[in-house]
């Protein structure tokens, strides 16, 4: 990847102030377009059309001949796939590079593509655990716990909470990428993102652990022993009570590990869920599992 040369080119051009650069309207337009970027997700080039549509304000701002615009559009109809919200900083970097290129900077088409492709992997490595692994499950779990008690606050908390985070990520991410240009490529290996990912992963795993215990219900009502105590009272020992003495929630924990193992074997989640349905029905029918 020839990022080192392009880094120099962009940073030398005083990336903080883009004279004749994107306007506020372009920012707003890019934001709205980017919020639909996965709309045309397809199995050939994934998010490609969404990238081209999101970058249209940039292309129109910096290229004025049909030929240049066509070249730019084709450039951004190539394969692209990352965590959607985290694509905005990448768009910002690309916009800075396109601007530089349109002004005659020493940037090849392949440099832009290389930076774009080079960023999507590492940023997805941050975006997936942070947004899909932590932010959404944690907010959804909070929302669901309220919703189960029929409280409308549950959906509202989830919806507004996650959207504020999403909008901020997209809006400031794009601005940040555009202002810093390719210099953010060298920051990627730096501490901030790694720390953020680690914090999110720890929180996410901690909450997953507590949910396995709190919100998974597996009950074994099977009676394994019963006798009449001194007062004539019937005392029964169920399989559940024996397991609870060992470690409450142990069955849920083991089942989670089984699922993780099956998913790692590339078994579709839906088949695992159907398998559990069969177990549920058989267990209920035989009295081994209960509500």
């Amino acid at each position: 990847m020839s990022t080192t040369t392009t880094t120099a080119a962009v940073t030398e051009a005083n990336p903080a102030s883009h004279e004749g650069g994107l306007t506020r309207r372009d920012y707003i337009s890019t934001y709205f377009r980017s919020s639909f970027m996965l709309g045309s997700f397809n199995f050939e080039r994934f998010q490609a059309i969404g990238v081209a549509v999101s970058l249209m304000p940039t292309i129109k701002r910096f290229y004025h001949t049909k030929h240049d615009q066509a070249e730019a559009l084709k450039r951004h109809l190539e394969f692209f796939n990352t965590t959607p919200w985290i694509a905005s900083p990448i768009y910002g970097v690309v916009a800075a590079m396109e601007e530089e290129r349109s002004k005659g900077g020493e940037i090849e088409d392949s440099d832009i593509t290389n930076v774009k492709i080079g960023l999507m992997g590492p940023l997805a490595g941050v975006g997936d655990p942070v947004f899909w692994g932590t932010v959404r499950p944690v907010l959804a779990a909070l929302g669901a716990s309220l919703a189960l008690a029929h409280s409308i606050l549950g959906p509202l908390l989830f919806f507004f909470g996650i959207n504020i985070i999403r909008i901020a990520t997209r809006w400031y991410g794009f601005k940040f990428g555009y202002q810093r240009g390719t210099s953010i490529v060298s920051n990627l290996g730096g501490g901030q993102l790694k720390r953020l990912t680690a914090i999110a992963s720890v929180l996410g795993l901690f909450v997953m652990g507590s949910l396995v215990s709190k919100w998974t219900t597996i009950k074994f009502p099977l009676i394994i022993a019963s006798y009449h105590a001194a007062g004539g009272k019937l005392v029964t020992t169920t399989l559940q009570s024996v397991l609870d003495q060992l470690l409450p929630g142990m069955a849920a924990l083991l089942l989670t590990f089984l699922c993780m193992w099956l998913l790692k074997k590339k078994i579709n989640a839906i088949w695992i869920i159907f398998g559990m349905f069969v177990i549920g029905i058989l267990g209920y029918w035989s009295g081994f599992l209960g509500l």
Partner: protein, 272 residues
């Protein structure tokens, strides 16, 4: 179901379908989609509760890379229509939601394959620098994703007024509905497993067990557990040297401490 309700049901499911591919505004999550369906069908309370139950199951469902998750949108919209309009229990809702999530997954894979055609059309428009053409391709594919949810939901909503749906639901034996409810208690772990696998952080697994044990032997609610988890996360990163490249590992301490006078001597030597 009135004509106005019918239109609103189609509208909500259209939005949910489009959100499910975009993964932006989260209208496709059961928590939101079921609440909106409940609002439209005049039983917000049931919609919210059903959304909460389904959200637990769908908690970890996510599209990462090329892997498709089960589809929460179709499951949420149709389950809401069925539960609210035929006064079924939330348990029945869960039971029908899961097969629907599988069906929705198949449908979205189908639409995402069709979208390849739109991609090739977009290439042709790019040759001519036709911005509008590419936009039309993009949003047409998005609309198809919306219709993928809206059409099946509309069909179910249309028959929900007749006895067809009720008869079909009543025909399900008790052992099946009961069994599905039992399973509903533990299918939630599939979502948790998806999240844990995605994190790919074996070294952080102690935090998973910590969360499990603290939740098992305490009465903290989720907010309390969340705060505790956040504190642990921050402390972990603060204390862990691998997250502090800027800070040099302490130099051999003895050399520095004892070196004070030597340094002076060296300096003196040089000055002399």
């Amino acid at each position: 179901m009135s004509a106005v309700q019918m239109v609103l049901v189609i509208l909500v499911s259209l939005v949910a379908g489009m959100a499910s591919v975009c993964d932006e505004r989260q209208f496709h999550r059961p928590l939101v989609a079921c609440a909106l369906m409940g609002l439209v069908l005049g039983d917000l309370s049931t919609g919210v509760a059903l959304g909460g139950s389904l959200e637990l199951i769908a908690l970890g469902w996510m599209n990462v890379g090329a892997a498709m998750a089960p589809d929460a949108a179709l499951a949420s919209t149709i389950a809401s229509v069925v539960v609210i309009s035929t006064h079924q229990s939330v348990g029945t809702g869960i039971a029908i939601a899961v097969p629907l999530a599988a069906a929705g997954q198949v449908l979205t894979i189908f639409v995402r394959s069709i979208a390849v055609f739109f991609q090739h059309q977009a290439d042709k428009f790019a040759e001519q620098a036709n911005f509008r053409g590419i936009e039309i391709m993009h949003f047409s594919a998005l609309l198809l994703q919306g219709l993928r949810v809206a059409i099946p939901t509309a069909v179910v909503a249309a028959v929900s007024g007749t006895s067809v749906l009720n008869d079909a639901l009543n025909a399900i034996p008790k052992v099946v509905t009961g069994g599905l409810q039992v399973a509903g208690g533990f299918i939630v772990v599939v979502g948790y497993a998806m999240v844990i696998n995605m994190m790919q952080a074996k070294s952080l697994m102690p935090f998973f067990f910590l969360g499990f044990v603290i939740a098992t032997f305490s009465n903290y609610n989720l907010v309390g557990l969340g705060i505790m988890g956040a504190c642990l996360a921050i402390i972990y990163v603060q204390l862990n040297p691998i997250y502090h490249n800027a800070i040099q590992m302490p130099q051999p301490a003895a050399a520095v401490a004892a070196g004070g006078s030597e340094l002076d001597d060296d300096l003196d030597d040089e000055l002399n």
